[in-house]
């Protein structure tokens, strides 16, 4: 019975990985639904400031444990919508790039220093930075070949980056892993500082 359950989990994971890989294979086409999806999927991935910050959200969630490990990756895309809506509406948000850079610095620093605030504070911090990331994605939404598949793409990419951070953050089960995770937080913070200096 347990063996059957494991196979179904792997089957679902395989299907999800196949889906991700197949859309990447269409990367040279930018027209229509698939083009919009690929553009959206690549948008967070092609910016290292986005990548490290999204990774840090998952990392910090895994570090904080239940329920933050799943609550933060749920809160982030939903609040990101708010920032995205501002970007879509053309409403300016000053210092978006600086805000994104600071998100990496802060989130990485929180992991590095093993900060464990109350859940509502963690959600507030993550939500605040989600607005900046959402605005950056949302400003490009109107020009996308297919806005809805574009939004699906970057929401999924954001979520998968969180999953990557969570997967790495699960190393906290072991003493050496805790050191590795905090070192990962330091790396994220260092990248954030570099982007901050560049943005300023």
């Amino acid at each position: 019975m347990n063996r059957i359950v494991i196979r179904s989990d792997r089957a679902a994971l395989l299907a999800a990985c196949l889906w991700l890989v197949s859309t990447a294979a269409l990367a040279h086409e930018t027209e229509g639904l698939a083009g919009g999806f690929v553009s959206g999927l690549l948008h967070p991935v092609l910016g290292w400031d986005h990548v490290v910050a999204m990774f840090a959200v998952g990392l910090w969630g895994a570090f904080l444990g239940n329920p933050a490990i799943w609550l933060l990756p749920i809160v982030f895309p939903l609040v990101m919508t708010l920032g995205g809506a501002l970007g879509v509406a053309g409403l300016p948000l000053d210092g978006v790039e600086i805000g994104i850079a600071i998100s990496a610095v802060v989130l990485g620093g929180l992991v590095m220093f093993a900060a464990r605030p109350p859940l509502w504070i963690a959600a507030l911090v993550v939500g605040l930075f989600a607005v900046f990331h959402g605005h950056a994605h949302g400003t490009e939404l109107p020009e996308a070949a297919s806005p809805i598949t574009y939004s699906m793409g970057f929401v999924i990419a954001t979520g998968l980056l969180h999953v990557a951070g969570i997967a790495f953050g699960l190393l906290t089960r072991w003493p050496a892993g805790r050191i590795a995770v905090r070192a990962g937080g330091a790396f994220v913070a260092a990248v954030g500082v570099a982007f901050f200096v560049d943005a300023v």
Binding site: S8, A11, A12, G32, A34, G84, L141, P147, I148
Partner: protein, 205 residues
């Protein structure tokens, strides 16, 4: 769900993975026949895909006794909607479907316990709305019926698969969390496009 149905989920995932970058959502794909064009229609219209998936996941999270009545309601309502669409009843429902996807996606993330009447109503409404929003751009009766039949099969299968997936992914806490995260993704995507529609900057999909 029986073990022998589990590989079907993988097959569906592979099929979704192999959808080529072809025509836009509402234009037929040349050479594959009217039935298969209709079959692909809800897969290639993101508003349909998101709303059916969100409603299916939400119903799948409910107790098992709610699933069958909701599935029957969806079947009947989908048939009704498609017949209406075939008879020329055209209603623009894309924004409503996106709103439904957003709302149901949020509910999936929240994971409330819904009364059975609500699940039946949801199953019926999504089938009716998607059916009505799927008028075939065809004149000949035979081809129109083939396309509508294909669309009906795809809509119902999508609903069943998403419901079954949420029902099946209920055994372990991390599986329940994965479904809730998926709901938040659906809601976020739909809300973004809705905001685009409201801002007046959205061009036809």
């Amino acid at each position: 769900m029986p073990c022998e149905r589990r590989p079907t989920l993988v097959v569906l995932g592979v099929l979704l993975a192999s959808i080529p970058d072809l025509a836009a959502a509402h234009t037929p794909i040349e050479g594959i026949g009217d039935f298969y064009n209709g079959l692909l229609h809800p897969l290639l219209v993101p508003a349909h895909l998101l709303s059916i998936a969100a409603v299916g996941l939400l119903i799948g999270q409910q107790p098992s006794q709610s699933l069958q009545p909701a599935a029957l309601a969806c079947l009947a309502a989908t048939a009704t909607g498609l017949i209406g669409a075939g008879l020329g009843l055209t209603i623009e429902l894309e924004s409503l479907l996106l709103a439904c996807a957003a709302g149901c996606g949020l509910l999936v993330a929240w994971r409330p316990r819904l009364p059975q009447g609500a699940t039946i109503l949801l199953g019926g409404l999504i089938g009716l709305a998607v059916g009505l929003d799927s008028p075939p751009n065809l004149v000949d009766l035979q081809t129109k019926v083939a396309a509508l039949l294909g669309t009906g099969v795809a809509v119902y299968l999508l609903f069943l698969y998403s419901t079954a997936a949420a029902d099946r992914l209920n055994a372990r806490p991390w599986q329940q969390i994965a479904v809730r995260v998926l709901g938040s993704w659906i809601a976020a995507s739909a809300l973004l496009v809705l905001s685009l529609s409201l801002s007046g900057a959205l061009s036809p999909v």
